[in-house]
């Protein structure tokens, strides 16, 4: 009975849900071949035309929220609204051709059974087609266009995620046929998270930690790792050094499935932009909305929060930038945030000020660990 009602509740949202499949190389090649065949069929038909490329819209207007029914996890997903890339629209012609160029290159990569990073792809495209590609950002966006066209994950295209994230603490990670790595012995630099999602999937994990702490800033991660905080508070530390990339999110999600009893706690600056980072771990993103929903985790906000401000000196508060306020306005209007988060945001906006975690050092360099320990013991996280 339980199962029925679960599937019933999800039924309608599934209809709206648009997602990218995780496919094997030959399956992606098949999809690209279908694109080419359809294009040629229309080009050679009795009433020939040049088809547009229909892409799932990656805009907030096409995003939906899936409320966790029996779990605490909500996520953002994309629905079936399309935009299209067209050869015939002046100023949009190059964007159209860029999609084909990336598709061609991914096709070749897959045929050769290779994997490349986004950076490597950028350099290849820059050499091959300098008139069309001038920046990494453009390449990344075009890759997302191909994901939105073929509805397969970026990794399925042969493109590895960036190698940004780090893990430290009480976890053993073992690649198949390799020695296990003890992440508590990796020093302050931690264990680098691979961009190869297949590899991450194949890792075996073991832990005796009681908490997972997601740290937004690299410097704070290093400080905590150096101080071996995970030996004082049995924990795993994780950072993406800023905005979370797919590989870090993937690993965090794996850990949350492997160790469902471990609360995941986030340590971010008191700032709307940092709260947005937390939200990305928590709910996913629109930019990669076709796949990011898979890696949404129940991340709780440990700090810095409103009531922590009393712990830091007044002079460490700094005015929020216009961009921060813009993000705050956008976040607060998003339906996915719970009231308690909204209240914190409202305080941020009212005061017009933000604070960095480093401000806690005012109380001594070891204060951060004490702060963490106290908050964890008091279960002071939302």
């Amino acid at each position: 009975m339980d199962d029925l009602s679960k599937s019933d509740m999800k039924f309608f949202s599934d209809q709206q849900h648009c997602f990218a499949d995780i496919l094997l190389p030959h399956e992606v090649q098949a999809r690209i071949q279908v694109v080419v065949l359809n294009f040629l069929k229309i080009l050679s038909s009795p009433d020939p035309a040049i088809s547009d490329l229909p892409l799932i819209n990656r805009k907030s207007s096409n995003s939906r929220v899936s409320e966790g029914i029996l779990t605490d996890v909500s996520w953002i997903f994309l629905s079936h609204s399309f935009c299209s890339r067209s050869l015939m629209k002046a100023n949009a012609t190059k964007a159209f051709i860029r999609v084909w160029k990336v598709m061609e290159m991914c096709f070749e990569i897959l045929i050769q059974d290779k994997r490349v990073t986004q950076r490597e792809l950028f350099y290849k495209l820059l050499c091959d087609s300098p008139h069309y590609f001038s920046s990494q950002l453009q390449v990344n966006r075009t890759i997302q266009d191909v994901v939105a066209l073929l509805r397969c994950s970026r990794y399925s295209l042969g493109i590895m995620a960036s190698r940004k994230g780090l893990v430290a603490g009480r976890i053993l990670l073992q690649e198949p046929n390799q020695e296990a790595v003890d992440c508590s012995a990796c020093g302050s630099s931690g264990y680098a998270i691979s961009g190869d999602l297949n590899l991450l999937e194949s890792l075996s994990t073991k832990t005796d930690a009681r908490y997972i702490v997601v740290v937004e800033k690299h410097a704070i991660f290093q400080r905590l790792a150096e101080d071996n905080v995970f030996n004082q508070i049995p924990s795993i530390l994780l950072t993406a050094k800023g905005y979370p990339d797919i590989a870090t999110r993937f690993l965090l999600h794996r850990m949350s499935r492997a160790f469902p009893d471990l609360p995941i706690l986030a340590l971010v600056d008191w700032n709307p932009a940092r709260l947005a980072i937390l939200s990305t771990y928590k709910f996913g993103s629109i930019g990669m909305g076709l796949e990011a929903y898979r890696y949404a985790c129940n991340v709780k906000w440990l700090g810095l929060r409103g009531d922590d401000l009393q712990l830091i000196p007044q002079q460490s508060l700094a005015p929020l930038k216009p961009r921060d306020l813009q993000i705050a306005r956008s976040l607060i209007s998003s339906t996915i945030l719970r009231d308690n988060y909204r209240q914190e945001l409202a305080v941020m906006m009212q005061s017009g000020q933000g604070a960095e975690i480093e401000a806690l050092y005012f109380n001594g360099y070891d204060y951060l660990v004490k702060y963490l320990a106290k908050k964890i013991v008091q279960a002071n996280y939302i």
């Binding site: 065949l37 096709f107 045929i111 950002l137």
Partner: protein
Amino acid sequence: MDHEMLILKIPSVAAELVIERGDASGLRCENVFLPNESSPLNFSSSNVERLKSGLEEYVLKHRNSLNNKCDSCFCSREKLKISSGVASSMESHRSPGLIVEAVIAISELSESLCFRSSGNKTEVLHFKDFSPSSVSIASLNALTSIDWRSYGLTLVSAVDQVDHALIEWESLPPYLHIDMVIHCYHKQYPGKYKYQPDRHLIKKGVKLALDDLKEKHTGLLLSAHAVKICSYAPDLASSIAGIILSSNDLKFRSKCSTLLELSQSQAIGKQTVEDRIKEKIISVIETNDRKPEKIKEAAPFLFEDDRPQDLDPADLYLEEHAGGDNVFSFPD
């Protein structure tokens, strides 16, 4: 003026002249309109057909400075492309019964000894009521108000040079020359009827002639937009050809060859596939360019299932209330 009169090819006038000069010497008669074997006209030919034929001869004979067509410049029919447009005012119009005929000739001449290119200029000859006329303000306004860019042309200026309007173009290809003639008259002619030249009618007539040219000759008078899009065709063709030729799937490659009407029998090189795809793309662009804006259809969908769903009212609300930057849309 005499040379220009010949453009009209008015049979009745020629007949009168012949009768009048019945006793004149052969020499004088030679300057009169004579039936031309290369462009057979008979009494039932319409006025505009005659005008077209007349302009054609005018151009072929280098503005009637020669007695016969210049064979060295116009060695093939393809060198001269000619079309016409006729606009007439409706009964409900403030001046009903007006007719404007426009004929445009485009010559593609390589460097020739006998024809000195007049560069980027076109003399627009004007006729009114079957006689050469001066250029009206209405005509000048009509010429300057046409959207020449949709025909791949840029007008620099149009000035009244008394017996013709002189149009200057920006950067015509050096071998291309344009001739034009506009004839306004009342359908009751030779009955006396006073009227003012109509700018809209003249514009319509010229546009009909331009559209007629585009319709009949692929790739001619391509709009600036179409020329620009065509320049991307090789890159697009190269990408698609690249995918086809990288594939190990023989069935797929065979299907593509069939669609592209390429031989299945032997190994086909990338260049051949690329060229064929490019040809087809350019052909579609050129065909689309000929269609008037209002009947251009939306491009077909690449996947049948992808037709956009009807928006839920809730979706419409979201769309209307979508803020500017959304925090969830940072690039990864």
